[in-house]
């Protein structure tokens, strides 16, 4: 056991204080387990699924109703996929808030790449059943790609494999979902774990005091967590069957046609403005995340939640300011006066005056304020990114409350399509 393959993937000893659950909450290991579950269940699904617009939905129905354990494995695949998006977001937040990326720029970027690849896997996955959601999601995302200046048309052709949404697009997304992106995850994860060991193991606030052998201390904890995660997944898969959407009506999208929860914020922002919602806001978010380790370099903050007291204050205040600003922006955007003003405004003004732009400005202002006060770059990134993440959460909740006609309904107001 101590010389097996799993043990070989680990260093011989780890520092005792990083064994605590609260160090990482086991999120990284959970992600590995989730990926393995999606891979194995995915391989099984590949035995029955046919990537053709005419046949795809039929094979999904067969899996659901005719294949032994087909429904269970399909549900498991879907739940593990959703969980993978959520847990990778939590893992990113943990690493970011704990400053574990400080001094480890390359591994942070590999991690960001893994996060985006996970989103890509989730996206290409729900295109495969070729139901209503799939068909219209492909339509919208291809048209979004078309909005990219200069290369837009070529990008759309590359995505669709044709001038229209059809079998060629399905074939490409199938190749991405089953081959290209999983291979990228495997490669990037391997490199991610290699870099972790090279960088000296899990980030610690204090110097190493005591080390313990990995086998059995760490391996036993990992095995327990893996079994626990598997158990939760299986119970969830038995209780929550994966839905099969209706056959695609290529003449009418459903009203409303909503993305899964992890893209609701994008759908909400895009309903204000395409350039801001689909390009400027996400690019600002990604750009801030990417450059963090280049500027946020104070090694004293590594391994501590939010750094020191000034940074902790910055984080708390940014949360509050973000929430207040978001609610204010949304309410004022929906007042009769604002609606009337925007109706007659020029397209440029309508692209600029919306809650998404406002939240970006608030984020940058908060960052400048708190970093000035605390004289700390960490405070800048903490404040800016916190406000942006509050905005993302807010837009997700808004998107969840949208009903037919993309009209906003409070959850208690009307029973609408989720």
């Amino acid at each position: 056991m101590s010389r097996g393959f799993i043990a070989h993937l680990h260093p011989p000893e780890v520092s005792a204080d990083t064994l605590r659950f609260r160090t990482t909450f086991g999120l990284g290991l959970t992600l590995i387990v989730l990926f393995l579950v999606t891979a194995v269940t995915g391989l099984f699904l590949m035995l029955y699924y046919v990537p053709s617009p005419a046949e795809a939905r039929g094979t999904i129905l067969d899996l659901e109703h005719a294949v032994t354990f087909g429904g269970f494995l399909r549900a498991l695949h879907r739940i593990a996929g959703h969980a993978m998006v959520l847990v990778s977001l939590l893992h990113l937040l943990r690493v970011w808030l704990k400053g574990a990326f400080i001094g480890r720029a390359l591994n942070w970027w590999v991690g960001l790449g893994l996060f985006l690849t996970t989103l890509g896997l989730a996206f290409t996955g729900y295109l495969l059943p070729w139901d209503q959601l799939s068909y219209w999601a492909v339509t919208v995302s291809a048209n979004l790609a078309d909005h990219v200046p200069l290369a837009g048309g070529a990008l759309k052709r590359l995505l669709l494999g044709d001038t229209e949404v059809g079998g060629a697009a399905l074939a490409r997304f199938y190749a991405l979902h089953t081959a290209v992106l999983p291979a990228a995850v495997v490669f990037l994860t391997g490199f991610h774990l290699f870099r972790l060991r090279r960088d000296g193991g899990l980030a610690r606030a204090n110097a190493v005091t005591e080390t313990v052998p990995v086998s059995p201390h760490l391996l036993l904890r990992e095995a327990t967590l893996a079994v626990f995660v598997l158990l939760l997944l299986c119970i969830a898969a038995m209780r929550i069957p994966a839905p099969v959407g209706g056959p695609p009506d290529i003449h009418h999208p459903s009203d409303p046609e909503k993305t899964p929860w992890y893209f609701l914020f994008l759908q909400e922002m895009v309903s204000y403005s395409t350039p801001v919602g689909a390009f400027v806001f996400p690019m600002l978010l990604v750009a801030l995340l990417v450059v963090s380790p280049l500027f946020d370099t104070n090694a004293a903050h590594r391994g501590r939640w939010c750094g020191e007291i000034n940074e902790k204050r910055a984080f708390i205040f940014a949360l509050l300011i973000g929430a207040v600003a978001f609610v204010t922006a949304e309410i004022s955007f929906h007042t009769a006066a604002a609606v009337a003003f925007l109706k007659s405004a020029s397209p440029l003004l309508r692209d600029l005056l919306n809650p998404a732009t406002l939240m970006m400005l608030v984020a940058l202002a908060a960052g400048a304020t708190f970093s000035g006060r605390a004289k700390s770059r960490r405070a800048f990134f903490l404040a800016t990114l916190t406000v942006l993440l509050v905005a993302v959460t807010g837009f997700t909740l808004m998107g969840a409350c949208r009903g037919p006609g993309w009209v906003f309904y409070f959850p208690w107001e009307a029973s609408h399509v989720p």
Partner: protein, 194 residues
Amino acid sequence: MAKKKPFKKDAPKPPVATIPEILSEPPAETSPETAAPSPAVSRRDFLGRAGVAAAALCGATAALGLVRGAASNTADRARIPVEVGNLVDFRVNTITFIKDENLFIVRDETGIGALSAECTHLGCTVRRVEDGFACPCHGATFDSTGAVVSGPARRALPWHPLQIRADGQLAVALFESSTEYGPRPIALPPSEVL
């Protein structure tokens, strides 16, 4: 009087080996001082770098080829106008959805026209509502002439040129459009109005 330049023939001659000497003696070691000066890049390094550059060039060309191949060659649909029905099938003051071509045939007292049903925001098909059209995907709304009322769309729904042939068949040119809203592209002579 100019100094006489020494005549070349009188200059001291370097020792020249005779042919028998050359053939019988072993080849002389080239002393370091008389060898060519050592270059900045050795031959080995130069060949190595040239090999890597050649491999990189091959790799780049292959990658470009793959990307070009991924951009499909399927032709655009032929740009001939499509027939959507006969004039007599569309009564005055009606809006009819033509499913297969994703457009509405709009007819009122002043004329008849073909309005695209593809939302100018991100491409979903709009649906008919009481005073115009609405898109379910992100809430864009248009009035009955296709102009933007509210929501994220920035361009009006375009009209496609519509021809009325001699036998009354309507032909729509799908790949041409204009965004002018108001008067219909084709006006009917009064006697044709039903």
